[in-house]
């Protein structure tokens, strides 16, 4: 009888284990959204897509170094559902609904444009689908309302702007009387400039704004804006231009002397510094929206990521590629934390969300903390440096790093209020 019971139990286990394993190992369908066409594709969208391809492939093969050595997400292999981010916010909302309602993706990782993120966040909430923004920068997303299903694993434009202000203050050592800006006329450009202007006014009381230019996104021709900035004779010029606009600004501004006799800070300059090395003189302040690219730490994860990317695509990963890898690894960390909390059983979406909130995880750029936005918004340290050509090769020099708490607001405090308070800790 005892032997019979054992045999029945063994049969039951034998019948259930494959079903359990199958459920555990059913692939995860992940929507990945990045610019595959348009002006943002070359410098941002394609490197991010390439990064996603490497990460999906290597995670599925179990070849990512510790602490991410398990295959896929906790053993579940990853399937990518790739979507082009171009076409505007309305198109993106339609594409998002298609991914969730027609293609039944398990989660979405994507979005470079702040406009896309502002449009998608409420729809993700409405459709109750875990959505991880990997690159967009506007701080408004978690400041204007709380979200359950939306996370962002890269820091906001506030970090870039406060870091930029701290760096130029340190660089010019109190000799800043006037500042000027040339930024794109939408959420990212407006937020970047307002945070930079407010930070400079806190750090250098009495500083005046000589001019603030806000050309249309993808305008392409900036002669008049450059003339206005040159005529303003500001000590510091701030630009958060990105994509083809950044490249056009460098190409048109260089021969006109934009980078001479004043400190120019390009908060996303890292994406163009190698391609346009011949057009960028020494001394231009370059940002990478965090500790990425030339500012990335010398850890094992970064050595693996940058080498794998360079070997496959022939170019070093830029910050958009780092941001994508960071988002995928952060989601994996949350998934596996939820898996462990669920006793090794495939976690529900709500369990993954609970695990993601206030999570701290490692990325090729070091430690990432989901510290603000009620645990949905990441903060990281940041770094800035100035361009310097060494034997004809573009490098960054005079690098300064700023800890995450120094350049990001505390949880529950709006960026503008935090800056206006003189960067007070809670």
């Amino acid at each position: 009888m005892n032997a019979f019971k054992k045999a029945v139990a063994a049969a039951v286990v034998a019948a259930l284990v494959p079903a359990f394993a199958a459920a555990q190992e059913a692939p995860l369908k992940i929507g990945v959204v990045s610019f595959l066409s348009g002006a943002a594709a070359g410098p941002f969208g394609v490197p991010a897509r390439n990064s996603a391809e490497i990460m999906f492939e290597m995670l599925n093969a179990g070849k990512v170094p510790a602490p991410y050595a398990t295959k896929g997400f906790g053993g579940a292999l990853l399937h990518m559902n790739l979507v082009d981010e171009s076409g505007g916010t309305t198109t993106q909302v339609t594409e998002f609904r298609n991914m969730v309602q027609r293609d039944n993706v398990d989660m979405v990782i994507g979005y470079i444009s702040s406009g896309s993120c502002l449009g998608i966040a409420p729809v993700a909430e409405e459709l109750k689908k875990l959505t991880v923004f990997f690159d967009c920068g506007t701080p408004r997303i978690f400041e204007e309302r709380g979200y359950k299903y939306v996370f962002r694993t890269a820091a906001t434009a506030t970090m870039d702007s406060v870091g930029a202000a701290l760096y130029v203050r340190d660089l010019r050592k109190g000799k800043i009387k006037t500042i000027a800006g040339i930024n794109q006329n939408y959420a990212w450009g407006q937020d970047s400039w307002s945070d930079f202007e407010a930070s400079m006014k806190q750090l250098e009381p009495g500083v005046k704004v000589a001019t603030s230019q806000m050309p249309k996104l993808f305008a392409g021709q900036y002669n008049a804006e450059i003339s206005t900035v040159l005529a303003a004779k500001a000590d510091v010029v701030h630009s958060s231009f990105w994509d083809g606009d950044l490249e056009a600004l460098i190409l048109q501004g260089g021969p006109r002397g934009l980078f001479k006799h004043r400190t120019v800070i390009l908060t996303t300059g890292e994406t163009a510094m190698y391609k346009l090395a011949g057009s960028i003189p020494d001394g231009v302040v370059i940002g990478a929206r965090g500790p990425y690219g030339p500012y990335a730490p010398n850890n094992e994860l970064n050595k693996w990521f940058s080498k794998t990317f360079q070997d496959r695509y022939g170019v070093p990963p830029n910050y958009a590629a780092y941001h994508m890898a960071q988002a995928i690894l952060g989601t994996k960390a949350a998934w596996e934390k939820a898996l462990a909390a669920n006793g090794g059983k495939r976690p529900s979406q709500d369990q993954v969300i609970a695990a993601f909130e206030h999570l701290t995880f490692e990325s090729p750029a070091g430690k990432v903390e989901m510290a603000i936005g009620a645990g949905h918004q990441a903060i990281t340290e940041t770094a800035y440096g100035v361009t310097r050509k060494v034997h004809g090769k573009m490098t960054v020099a005079n690098v300064k790093r700023y800890p995450a708490e120094m350049v990001n607001p505390p949880d529950g405090v709006k960026a503008a209020d935090w800056i206006a308070s003189g960067f007070k800790k809670k």
């Binding site: 348009g38 394609v46 230019q213 050309p215 021709q221 003339s227 040159l230 994509d243 083809g244 048109q252």
Partner: protein, 298 residues
Amino acid sequence: MEQLLAVLIDGIIYSAWLFVAAVGLTLIYGVMKIVNVTHGSFYALGAYAAASITGALLAHGMPPYLSYAVLLGSAVLVSVIVAPLIERGILRFMYAKDEVVILLITYALFLILEDVIKLIWGVNPYFIAEPYGLLGSFDIGDLTYPYYNMILVGVAIACGVGLAWMLNHTRTGKLLVAVIHDTEISRAMGINVDRFYLFTFTFGSLLAAIGGAYTAPTVSVVPGLGVEVIVLSFAVVVIGGLGSLPGAALGAVIVGLVRSATIHYLPQAELFVIYLVMAAVLAFRPRGLFSLAEARKI
């Protein structure tokens, strides 16, 4: 005073770019009555051809000063191949259809050509910075302008004057004017209208390609380059009056100067000022500044 001068120079540079980009559009509409959306594609094709051919030749040791001729040659090459293919292969079968249908066909071709560009050149940006800084710069007060900008102004003047001279002083031009006024009578008088359509479409597309080619050294040549241009070109030719050469010139100058003054004195309004000008002109002159009276046909 210095700022006024800067407004004027920036306005002229922008006007020159706009005119070169838009004049082919108005020519094609004037002769063929086609609102040609593929105009933006030819601008992009010109930029891509110029960036890739000039870049390749410079990398193979071509003297940098020859790059200005190569820019032009690239525009000619791409337009004499692609424009006749489109006109003979597709558009000539559509002339009997309504203007709106042809507009939609050119829009479809624009979308197809956008993808063709991505197939050929990919999505990574192309740069040819050398020609922009090669000629040096001149200073006006504290402002520095590369001489290259004057090349663009020269190209615009050459296009405008050359086109006006061709239309008014050559046999081909006079025949073209006849076609513009009345296609049926021109046919009846023995003019080979189909040949003029082919010539006009190719020449108009060439002008767009030249605009793209000479803009390439100043921008990142990326997919979608033609989208912004086609919108601005429409604004310019609508202000001037569709089909009018002097109208396109005046439209470009008005838009260029107003935009430049706005950026210098009221930058917050830059985003919509071009469309404000267009709305204001159309409110008083619904067919544009230089619209011609049309004879009613029974």
